[in-house]
């Protein structure tokens, strides 16, 4: 959550107005009936004022979804989801306004404090009425497209981006305002028939971000989205589409939080990236959704399909993720290296504690000539969690000169957790060069004692050692994200030892 004063303030200000503007109907009725049917899909499409082609697209996906079954190959174990027992759409309620920080749950404040988010920003995030605060010009500008519940209520910095010709808006708006772009690219990387969860998302996605960077433009700021889940029993179905046209560059940050709750929450997002000739997309995620309580009850189920298409020659897509939350994580941000000389990168830190289950990794699909990819994965398992890296590296017959380097390192904390590595490697031509390295180690008592003897507490020692372990990946994150991620890692592992 790279909360920046000015952006958050703007979001806060726009929040109220936009809400009035967009949703004059009664708030309570802005919720789809429970369960999933063609009616639900139509309800969502109607709420969004979508054109007929979009509704058709959704309905086709829905009909396809009915014929599909949930995948069971991942190393995750959870009770069967009753898809008729979920709500598929909820517009945001106006936030309850509190007059001072004293009214906010001290536990929440503690977490913010640990994350190092200044209190004045907490006030914004928690809906305390803004006071005249001093701006902090030293911090870099970040444009925030805020997603509260399922509807993007605000997009900031539109003007400046507009000057550069960059389109950054909720995808629901893009469907209305830029149908030619959406129709051309939506589903072109992750087709509606791709997999059970992606198909479900295609049918019921509520909102998400849309980015288009025109040819030759270097996006003037980092683009960022907050995701928050507030509604009880509401599945989140975000849809993000980012297109970097020829010779352009964009860096996109995604950070997520969710308040504590008992029921499991389904989240099935789809992210599609398209990089044309000589374009570059850098996509960074910090994910810290509610992982469930100490008995493994509750927590978010996170079934995500993220895929980038290096469609043009010399294009580049880089995924960086710090995954610390969710009860179940099922996520494989991938790259299709279609253009000649294109490059894909995947840098990942996946931390599991308590009863969390992570099955995450990537796919690097080499189709073009002289394509290259790099995978650096750091898995950390603590508590009673299970942490799996699952990756595919494949070179097509015509992908001559394909190169991949993979390094998967796992760190175990305690003796009740598990780390697993499942790499699939396929080379269909003899000129491919694939390298794979993997290590699994336990956090050593001797290393911890050494740190503690030098004055660090047990938790500080674990945090230090783990942050050293993940350093190669942290370095890939934009600066302010890296600082927060580092703190988040230490927080996620609290109570994991002793």
């Amino acid at each position: 959550m790279p909360a920046v004063q000015e952006t958050v303030e703007r979001v806060k200000r726009i929040d109220v107005d936009q809400y009035r503007y967009g949703f004059e109907t009664l708030i309570e009725s802005d919720k789809a009936p429970k369960g999933l049917s063609e009616e639900t899909v139509k309800f969502i499409s109607e709420k969004k004022n979508e054109p007929a082609w979009m509704l058709q697209w959704r309905l086709e996906a829905y009909r396809r979804w009915l014929t599909m079954t949930e995948p069971t190959w991942a190393r995750v174990d959870y009770p069967k989801i009753d898809f008729q027992d979920l709500y598929y759409y909820a517009a945001p309620k106006p936030k309850k306004t509190v007059s001072s920080l004293d009214e906010i749950d001290p536990e929440i404040l503690k977490t913010y404090e640990k994350l190092g988010i200044p209190l004045r920003e907490v006030a914004m995030l928690e809906g305390v009425e803004p006071k005249v605060g001093e701006e902090d010009p030293a911090r870099r500008k970040i444009a925030v497209d805020a997603v509260f519940d399922s509807v993007s209520v605000a997009t900031t910095f539109k003007a400046e981006l507009k000057k550069a010709g960059v389109i950054f808006m909720p995808i629901s708006e893009a469907i209305r305002e830029h149908p030619e772009l959406v129709q051309k690219y939506l589903g072109s990387v992750v087709p509606t028939s791709d997999n059970f969860y992606a198909t479900l998302n295609s049918a019921v996605f509520s909102d998400g971000s849309f980015v288009y960077v025109p040819p030759g433009v270097r996006c003037p700021m980092e683009l960022s989205t907050y995701f928050r889940i507030n509604e009880r029993n509401t599945g989140q179905f975000e849809r993000t589409l980012i297109i970097a046209d020829k010779g352009s560059y964009v860096s996109y940050l995604e950070g997520c939080t969710a308040p504590q709750r008992d029921e499991n929450q389904l989240h099935a997002a789809v992210v599609e990236l398209v990089a044309l000739d000589d374009a570059e997309i850098k996509y960074s995620t910090v994910q810290n959704w509610y992982p469930g309580n100490s008995e493994g009850k509750g927590g978010i189920y996170n079934f995500v399909t993220k895929r980038g298409d290096c469609r043009g020659a010399n294009s580049k897509i880089s995924w960086t993720q710090v995954e610390t939350g969710s009860a179940i994580t099922w996520k494989y941000p991938s790259c299709i290296l279609r253009g000649d000389n294109s490059r894909g990168e995947f840098y990942s830190i996946a931390i599991s504690n308590g009863f969390q289950q992570v099955d995450s990794g990537t796919k690097m699909i080499h189709l073009g000539k002289n394509t290259s990819s790099r995978i650096i994965s750091k898995g950390i398992a603590a508590g009673k969690s299970q942490n799996t890296y699952r990756g595919l590296v494949t070179a097509h017959r015509k992908a001559t000169g394909a190169r991949n380097f993979t390094a998967c390192d796992s760190l175990l904390i305690g003796d009740k957790c598990g780390a697993h590595t499942v790499p699939y490697i396929e080379a269909k031509n003899s000129s491919a060069t694939f390298e794979h390295e993997a290590t699994t180690s336990k956090i050593s008592e001797d290393v911890l004692f050494y740190c503690i003897q030098r004055g660090l507490s047990q938790e500080e020692a674990v945090g230090l050692v783990v942050n050293g372990f993940v350093k190669d990946v942290l370095q890939q994150l934009p600066m302010e994200f890296a600082v927060e991620a580092q703190k988040l890692i230490s927080i996620s592992l609290e109570g994991s030892v002793g």
């Binding site: 503690i452 003897q453 030098r454 004055g455 660090l456 500080e460 230090l464 942050n467």
Partner: protein, 249 residues
Amino acid sequence: MALLEVKDLKVRVEEREILHGLTLTVNEGEVHAIMGPNGSGKSTLSHVIAGKPGYEVTDGQILFKGEDLLEMEPDERAAKGVFLAFQYPVEIPGVATMNFLRTALNAQRKARGESEYSTPDFLKKVREVSKSLNIPQDMLKRGVNVGFSGGEKKRNEVLQMALFEPSLCILDEMDSGLDIDALRIAADGVNALRSPKRAMVVITHYQRLLNYIVPDVVHVMSRGRVVKSGGKELALELEASGYAQFEAA
């Protein structure tokens, strides 16, 4: 004044008693050597003083500056001024030595209620100390002990000792794995830290180290007890006659 008082200490590791009632008093400003054969309990003593998990104290007491050390967590002991120079310093990949030193020093200062060092102040201090120990700046940028030679690892221990300014330094087999030149450099570093306010406990098999770090008192340990204490000449005597005479006891 007594800095460290170990009284009739009995320690078990997994049902087996290693120390059978050990008594030792170290005063401020003194350097004590503890010698003894393998398995006599020398390293156990150093670990118990520092608070390493896995040891069960069944009887006896350890007082440090008059306070009950066994009641304190290991990090509290460090903040109070107990420093253990490890026989085999561990490697911590990805954590730059400089970052480690600052995190540790500030953790100790915070625990003592002192202000944390600012980055410029810290850098100034660490440069001063490392220069006096002839430690190149480039070593401080590397991961803690990662790829360090045996001599570099021990010098890094001495650097921390100099930086943290503990009042009790326990040196566990500092000479192991060092050639004669590396030993001399490390010993010079230790000697520079001798002060009337600071005590040292030097644990070693061999008299050799004591040529460089000359002790005030020498103790001989055997089978979990101190069996003989004397002046520095006792070390030379042991070198000539060996530990066998004590083993029989």
